[in-house]
């Protein structure tokens, strides 16, 4: 059985650290890969750029995606993930500060699996991360791995 990993797309160092803290605090010990902008995220997922030659059979079980990102914003990253047959079934959950209606609508229009607004209160944030990890990494059955050759 493949290892269930997390891809965290987040540019704010504090948020990266605090997210990691929250995961640790809630005993979610799955491996976390962090990419700090949209381009890097896509490179990682498609095995391009800095990630050329990456083993593409190893895909993250859960992608935590921030919306305000440098270079390519979160919604565009989501659009490209959904447009690529290699990644279009990936579980993507938007984890962001805003609950602007337009962002939520656009996220779901592009086929996001979940939308979580990070609360200011860290205890609440931690709780959200707990339920999130529990659901997507443990309870939920992820989509089967795609055969790269076939696609």
């Amino acid at each position: 059985m493949n290892e269930r990993t997390i891809l965290l797309v987040e540019d704010n160092q504090s948020d990266i650290e605090l997210t990691k803290r929250a995961l640790k605090r809630e005993h979610i010990l799955n491996k976390i890969t962090v990419v700090e902008d949209g381009q890097e995220a896509l490179d990682y997922l498609f095995g391009t750029g800095a990630y050329a030659g990456r083993d593409l059979t190893k895909m993250p079980t859960l992608i935590l995606l921030d919306l305000k990102l440098p270079i390519i914003d979160g919604l565009e990253v989501l659009r490209r993930i959904r447009a690529n047959p290699l990644t279009h079934r990936q579980v993507v959950v938007i984890l962001t500060s805003s609950k602007e209606e337009q962002d939520i609508l656009n996220g779901y229009n592009l086929g996001v699996n979940g939308y979580i607004r990070k609360p200011v209160d860290f205890i609440q944030f931690s709780a959200a991360i707990k339920y999130l990890g529990l659901y997507w990494l443990v309870i939920n059955e992820p989509p089967p791995l795609v055969n790269v050759e076939i696609s």
């Binding site: 704010n12 504090s14 948020d15 605090l18 803290r21 605090r25 919306l67 305000k68 962001t96 500060s97 805003s98 609950k99 602007e100 990070k118 609360p119 200011v120 209160d121 860290f122 205890i123 944030f125 931690s126």
Partner: protein
């Protein structure tokens, strides 16, 4: 006659011949006697026989001749008789023939006369003119069917009556006197009679009455030819009456016209509008005082002069062109023209050209002031419009900026708050042992203020959203919304008793999401400020206030001092201490914004420790 003569000569000849024959017979006998001796007896006998036969023969012939002659004579006599008779017959025949021819001619003539009579009689009988023949005393001897037809008297009734049965009182006696005088003098009388029918109805007749005079010059009869002219008379009468009436009306109208002409003239003279009358020869026939003022010309300069001579300037050309069109084409016109006067003045005139029979009537008004004002208004409007457009654009830009700003606030301003709270938490988690009680307390304060800041940002975003978001108005049941809010509030654990009264079926028209936010804020306020009451009363209803449908939410909460009520709806304005009643102070600002966006009004009445009532209207 010749025949008779011929017959006579024949008779003579025959008589001579008979005598000759007789002489011959006697002579032969005698000769025989003398010679008898000389002749032998035998011979003698024979001779005697022959002589006897001969004599007998002669006698016979003579006898035959005599018979013949007698017969002939008789015949001749008959012939003569017959001839005479024939002559007589012939004579008679000729006479008869002549007589016959005469008779025939008589017959033809008679037939012609009969024909003529028949025709004449028919003409009289069927004549559309009444024909009456009377004797010298006026007794009717004949009346044709037309008479009966008109008067109603049968022909039998008419016979023997005097003509005065037709007489009515309407014809003056003098007329009849003149009539009789004329016809008795052997002359023909013509005239009109107003006569009476059998049924009393009156009718008009044009009558021509003439005497009939015999060979000796004596009057034997009177002949009256009469035509029914009632219709004509009536028409004439009507015409006469109409003519009279018309004449009267013409007189009245003329008087009126004279009066009104005077009145009009006075009115025109004193009118503010210019009035001019331009004849077909292009000359000014009338101008009022206003015209002289408007066009800077005296009456003397205008009246009797051709318009082109009075106004040769180019500035007047467009105006004169319209006048000429009016004059030549009898065309009505209404136009506005700008005229630049020689003295530099520019004026605007409104001209109305009205063609009349002898020219045109022109009304002119000086509308310079109006035009100037209109131009000013137009310019102002244009400026205003431009300003509105600019402002709209500015607002649109501002709105965009606000959107971008709030988006940024939503994302970027919250992130550091989360970090502050997160790291404070990390400090509490990881370094709690190194902090004393006070340090831990301070950290708690940091966290609570951070979270408050989070709420503030959220509320601010809500406030900006209710201003920005487009309203989508539909039918809304406020009672239903209120009940849902009530249910949410009742789920909050509390020790107090809550009494909600929500009036049913309060239907209105608005944006349901916005109204939900407003009602939630108002209900949460009521809930919050009744917090110190053991039994909270919260009532939501509606009533007519100042004739406007007004909704209200009433509570028995802490209330506030009405002196500061003007601050009530300002953002971040609080009426109570934060420690007593927590909140950001944005709620009522949001409510007011929503009500205003529905073109409504919101106000409050409150008394400390008694309670508060919020009122609001929605268009």
């Amino acid at each position: 006659m010749n025949k008779l003569h011929t017959n006579k000569s024949t008779t003579v000849l025959l008589s001579i011949f008979i005598i000759f024959l007789l002489l011959l017979s006697i002579g032969s006998n005698l000769l025989y006697r003398f010679q008898k001796e000389s002749i032998t007896s035998d011979k003698h006998n024979e001779l005697a026989t022959w002589i006897s036969i001969f004599t007998l023969l002669l006698i016979l012939i003579a006898a035959l001749i005599i018979i013949y002659l007698w017969k002939k004579k008789k015949n001749d006599e008959m012939m003569i008789n017959q001839q005479h008779l024939q002559e007589l017959v012939d004579e008679q025949t000729i006479y008869l023939k002549v007589l016959n021819a005469q008779l025939k001619q008589d017959l033809t003539e008679r037939k012609l006369i009969e024909d003529k009579l028949r025709k004449l009689s028919l003409a009289v009988e069927q004549n559309p003119i009444s024909i009456i023949i009377t004797d010298t005393n006026g007794i009717i001897e004949y009346g044709n069917p037309r008479v009966s037809n008109i008067t109603g008297y049968t022909p039998e009734e008419l016979l023997g009556k005097k003509t005065n049965i037709f007489k009515s009182e309407d014809t003056p006696i003098e007329v009849f006197e003149a009539l009789w005088d004329t016809i008795l003098a052997g002359k023909e009388w013509h005239g009109e009679l107003h006569n009476k029918k059998k049924n009393g109805e009156l009718y008009w007749e044009a009558a021509s009455i003439s005497p009939i005079i015999d060979e000796e010059g004596k009057i034997t009869h009177f002949l009256a030819l009469k035509e029914d002219i009632t219709q004509r008379k009536q028409t004439q009468e009507e015409l006469r009456r109409a003519k009279n009436e018309l004449e009267i009306r013409v007189k009245v109208r003329t008087a009126e016209l004279a009066k009104s002409e005077k009145r009009f003239r006075t009115t025109l003279d004193n009118l503010m509008e210019g009035c001019m009358f331009i004849g077909n020869d292009f000359t000014f026939l009338y101008v009022n005082d206003a015209v002289t003022k408007q066009l800077n010309k005296t009456k003397e300069e205008l009246l009797g002069h051709m318009m082109t001579q009075v106004f040769p300037e180019k500035a007047f050309m467009p105006v004169l062109k319209w006048f000429v069109i009016g004059l030549l084409q009898q065309q009505q016109n209404h136009f506005v023209e700008e005229i630049k006067f020689e003295n530099g003045n520019v004026k605007w005139f409104d001209f109305r050209v009205e063609p009349v029979t002898e020219g045109i009537f022109v009304m002119s008004s000086d509308i310079t002031e109006r035009i100037v004002a209109e131009k000013k208004i137009k310019k102002m409007n244009e400026e205003l419009e431009q300003r509105v457009n600019e402002r709209t654009l500015q607002l649109q830009i501002a709105n965009k900026e606000l959107e971008a700003f709030s988006y940024s606030v939503s994302h970027d301003l919250r992130a550091p708050l989360r970090s502050i709270d997160g790291w404070s938490m990390a400090l509490l988690d990881d370094c709690a042992q190194q902090l004393d009680q006070q340090g831990l307390e301070y950290l708690d304060r940091v966290r609570s203020e951070t979270q408050r800041m989070g709420f503030l940002i959220d509320d601010l975003l809500k406030l900006s959203k209710v201003s920005r978001v487009e309203l989508k108005k539909v039918d809304v049941d406020l009672s239903k919304l209120a009940n849902e809010i009530k249910q949410r509030l009742l789920k909050i654990p509390t020790d107090r008793l809550l009494e909600f009264i929500i009036h049913p079926a309060m239907l209105t028209f608005g944006d349901p999401r916005m109204l939900e936010i407003a009602l939630t804020n108002l209900f949460e306020n009521a809930y919050k400020f009744t917090g110190k009451q053991p039994i909270a009363h919260i009532e939501f209803g509606e009533s007519l206030i100042n004739n406007k449908r007004t909704f209200w939410i009433k509570d028995n909460g802490i209330g506030f001092d009405m002196t500061y009520s003007k601050n009530l709806f300002g953002a971040f304005q609080r009426m109570h201490k934060k420690s007593d009643f927590p909140g950001t102070g944005v709620g009522l600002a949001t409510v007011q914004r929503i009500i205003h966006r529905h073109n409504g009004a919101i106000w409050a009445e409150s008394a400390i420790d008694i309670g508060t009532t919020f009122y609001f209207t929605l268009t």
